[in-house]
């Protein structure tokens, strides 16, 4: 017998977790954000239940401000794999014209956090997989793999259920739910190495390419459609950029890069001097902002 490799161990742990949820939770769903972590999650779900299809649907919370390439990738992926892809948008938010330019953090709350809660309530999901990793942010580093939420979807960091060995407690009361993070113990580097090893398809935005961008508050923002609001002194330039994380295009900073192959991306990641979430504009707002949003029900 041989010792399993680092990636094999992480893969086995994630698959074990997914099967536990499928076996014990009443109505699970897998959150699908279209990003690279979601691509890995989807890939793991396909492997975990093979030859059976994953025994739960996938859910994308569409803020209507995602990159166009992300939406195309989502639809193509769902069709290619024959999986059930639910798409939910906060219609009141759209009606009220909530957008990332004028509404700041209220936008994230209404179009992401509230939309997610509405979707989970509407479908009655009791368990939701997310792709969060503990290496991303300090409050995530302390969250359990099975993260209990009360009927208001709130997380109580001071009273987390102990989580021992592989013995996950999935017991909840009506109205309560569990968020599950099978990638908790993966690092960004593990994700990229796994994508290479398994040849997982990811959104082309991760690869460097000439794209129309503006420089704003130290971030490189891509002009993905004509809804982009430009300041007087802002000029659209064509630059070779790529994205390390994906979200709503006006809130996602790119990096100038020549990395247009997977190996080049991994090479660049290994030498990264800026940790991943720096490119998400919202995390800068206040110290502890991620923890506060999680308590309010954000993933």
């Amino acid at each position: 017998m041989r010792e399993l490799t680092h990636l094999e161990q992480l893969e086995a742990e994630a698959i074990y977790i997914m099967r536990e949820v499928a076996a014990e939770c009443e109505k699970p769903v897998m959150l699908y954000s279209i990003g690279k972590d979601s691509s890995v999650m989807l890939h793991l779900a396909l492997k975990a239940f093979y030859p059976e299809k994953p025994p739960f649907p996938f859910l994308h919370i569409d803020t209507t401000w995602k990159f166009q390439e992300m939406i195309a990738f989502r639809d193509h992926t769902a069709k290619r794999l024959g999986i059930e892809m639910l798409v939910y948008t906060n219609k009141e938010g759209v009606r009220d014209g909530i957008n990332p330019f004028d509404h700041g953090s209220a936008y994230t709350d209404i179009m992401k956090t509230q939309a997610l809660k509405q979707a989970l309530d509407q479908y009655g999901f009791t368990a939701a997989f997310g792709g969060g990793r503990r290496d991303e942010e300090k409050s995530r580093a302390k969250e359990r793999i099975f993260s209990f939420r009360n009927a208001q979807h709130a997380w109580d960091p001071k009273n987390q259920r102990p989580e021992m060995w592989k013995l996950y407690n999935t017991k909840i009361r009506k109205g309560e739910s569990i968020r599950i993070f099978p990638l908790s113990n993966w690092t960004e580097k593990d994700i990229w190495q796994y994508i290479r090893q398994e040849m997982i398809e990811i959104v082309p935005l991760y690869y460097a390419k000439e794209r129309p961008v503006v420089y704003r508050d130290g971030n490189i923002i891509m002009v993905d459609d004509d809804r982009m609001q430009l300041g007087h002194d802002e000029k659209v330039e064509w630059k070779k950029v790529r994205f390390r994380t994906l979200g709503c295009y006006p809130l996602t900073g790119g990096v100038e890069s020549e990395a247009d192959t997977l190996d080049a991306i991994i090479e660049e990641t290994l030498q990264a001097i800026t940790s991943e979430r720096t490119s998400r504009v919202i995390d800068h707002e206040a110290a502890g902002s991620m923890e506060r949003r999680k308590r309010e029900g954000y993933f």
Binding site: T5, P51, A141
Partner: protein
């Protein structure tokens, strides 16, 4: 590819755990530039006057930064030339012992910090004990704050000796002592010039090189079934992660607890069809014949593992509610979830001295050895043989809290002279065993108002929810227990009194009782409330007389109007409506389903 080492840092509060890890990451250049910047920024407003406070790298929660302590486990990930690491940095406060245990269950190696100015503390001893309980067999002791004792060799030697004496009683595969200073960085990643008398390894070198051996000595093939996959009628695969050993296509396997045999027909390792698979891999296995296998069964090759419903185990209690022997919990063991009770707390373990102390109950953060009874036989092994089949958690059946964790020492047979601890089985224990809170739901109202119909419908809903109930009505009371009573005032009072006493007994048995009697007099119902106590829940079925008379299901009103029935409530005898019932239901205003849903809500029985 590099191997992965999971380790935990622990020790008493202020021993400098977070600082140690922070410093290791910083020295080894394993933190990102922006984190480094944030760290220096945070330090300026912190208490170390502009010097870098390395612990800020790890104490992530707002409450922790405010209080300056570590509440919960933080996981950190780093890689050196030689190895990948996951470190669980755990809280030192006794209050958060359970979070420390979470980190220990995950780790292969424990780095125990000891403050050189203080020596071993109770909390240090508690942590060593819990690490051992959770399965850690490799220990490294970092004697910290050596800078504060002038790097004195004598002080180090004295503490090292104390540690060796203490760990003697535990199963340990390897032990290492290192004198360090977490704030100054001595012997963390590089050798210390301040302690030329120490010739041993630095902490990082130790972690890069330690070989892990220990638990899971079971070498035959063992796998607990997580899930049965049936995508179509031709495919039936058993999914799980192999706990130990290897399995090949064609191997003869045994299914436990049924002891049926079959041969392995196909193996999928994730989505790849393979000829064999080994410990640690997630697989889907198909067998050559149809046998009854479900989640919780175990398939294996050797015959040494057995099913049992009685076992002796070491437990760590983690709930604010204490453990009472006899009370029913969910136990999760392997992939099984079933009811279980502690029959006897054999002894509590003093965390400091290791002494065995008698105990009637077990409180938060206490360790004990207990005899446990499972509701049915379950495949189980000693923890020393199998981490997967020898570890378990207890879940509170009412609050769903993970109340305890434990490891199996050995199984017991009936003949092993079992004794139940002197326990009074209380009403609460009986009710919890049924996973419910007791109530007597007392329906009152005119004849024909709908009491029986409501009580019947409510009882059906409760039973469908898995509750244990009893309905008392004219049919089962008047014909038996109260056969000797007539309809005089004295008899009516006695009738109600007996019903209330029976309801109380049934509440004491842990049941939810429903009664459907006219019970027209306020005084009698008050009497019933006194007898039954706080379980009494009065439902006034307020359907008006005219409507009851219109319905006249049994033709009684017609007879009463003709004077054929004396003392008929509402016609020739008064009905005293309740002044402050717990609930009023007018059957004219809502349909049966709505009424039942309303009652379930008001009774607070909505969940589970």
């Amino acid at each position: 590819m590099k191997s992965l080492l999971k380790f935990i840092t622990c020790g008493s509060v202020d021993d400098g755990k977070s600082t140690l890890i922070g410093h290791m990451l910083y020295d080894a250049k394993l933190i990102f530039a922006d984190q480094e910047k944030a760290l220096e920024l945070d330090s300026k407003i912190g208490s170390r006057e502009g010097k870098i406070d390395y612990s800020l790298l790890l104490d992530g929660l707002m409450a922790e930064r405010e209080q300056g302590i570590t509440i919960d486990v933080a996981y950190r990930y780093f890689t050196t030339e030689k190895r990948s690491f996951i470190v669980a940095d755990t809280p030192g406060h006794e209050e958060y012992t359970r979070n420390m245990a979470v980190g220990a269950s995950f780790a292969d190696v424990a780095v125990i910090l000891i403050d050189a100015t203080q020596g071993m503390l109770i909390q240090t001893r508690r942590h060593i004990r819990i690490c051992s309980l959770m399965g850690i067999r490799h220990f490294v002791f970092a004697i910290n704050k050596m800078d504060l004792v002038h790097y004195d060799k004598g002080i180090y030697n004295k503490i090292a000796k104390e540690v060796k004496r203490f760990v003697n009683e535990f199963e340990i595969a390897s032990i290492q002592m290192i004198p360090v200073s977490a704030t100054e960085g001595d012997n963390i990643t590089g050798s210390s010039s301040a302690m030329p008398w120490y010739h041993g390894t630095t902490l990082l070198t130790y972690l890069e090189n330690i070989e892990i051996t220990g638990l899971n000595t079971e070498d035959g093939f063992v796998m607990a079934i997580q899930r049965v996959s049936r995508p179509n009628h031709r495919f039936r695969g058993f999914q799980g992660q192999i706990s130990a050993g290897e399995v090949c296509v064609g191997d003869e396997i045994t299914v436990l607890p049924s002891h049926e045999h079959a041969k392995v027909a196909e193996i999928y390792v994730t989505d790849q069809k393979e000829e064999s698979a080994q410990a640690g891999q997630p697989v889907t296995i198909q067998l050559d014949r149809e046998i009854d296998i479900s989640r919780g069964c175990v398939i294996c090759k050797s015959g040494s593992i057995k099913a049992a419903n009685l076992l002796t185990a070491k437990m760590l209690w983690m709930d604010d509610e204490s453990l009472v022997p006899g009370r029913n919990y969910w136990i999760k063991l392997g992939t099984r979830l079933l009811p279980a009770s502690v029959m006897d707390i054999k002894y509590r373990i003093d965390v400091n001295s290791g002494d065995q102390l008698p105990a009637e109950q077990l409180y938060k953060n206490e360790l004990a050895v207990c005899d446990i009874m499972l509701s049915e036989k379950c495949v189980v092994d000693a923890f020393e043989n199998s981490k997967d089949l020898g570890s378990f958690i207890f879940v509170n059946r009412v609050t769903n809290m993970t109340s305890a964790c434990g490891t199996v020492e050995h199984t017991l047979r009936r003949s092993d002279n079992l004794v139940w601890q002197e326990t009074d089985i209380t009403k609460q224990i009986r009710a919890e065993q049924k996973n419910q809170a007791t109530k007597t739901i007392w329906f009152t109202g005119l004849s024909g108002s709908g009491k029986s119909t409501l009580a019947n419908a409510l009882e059906k809903r409760l039973v469908a929810m898995g509750k244990h109930t009893m309905l008392l009505d004219g049919d089962n009371i008047r014909m038996g227990l109260n056969r000797n009573l007539g309809f005089t005032e004295v008899d009516r009072v006695e009738n109600i009194r007996r019903i209330a006493e029976v309801a109380k007994l049934m509440n004491d048995a842990g049941l939810i009782v429903l009664t459907a009697f006219i019970s027209p007099y306020r005084k009698d119902r008050e009497n019933a409330r006194d007898i039954i106590g706080e379980d009494f829940f009065e439902v006034y079925v307020s359907t008006p007389l005219a409507e009851c008379e219109r319905r006249d299901v049994k033709g009684l009103y017609k007879k009463a109007r003709k004077g054929e029935i004396p003392n008929f409530t509402g016609i020739s005898s008064p009905y005293e409506a309740p002044l402050a019932p717990d609930l009023v239901i007018d059957t004219q205003k809502m349909d049966l389903e709505e009424a039942v849903t309303l009652m379930i809500e008001k009774l607070d029985m909505v969940d589970s």
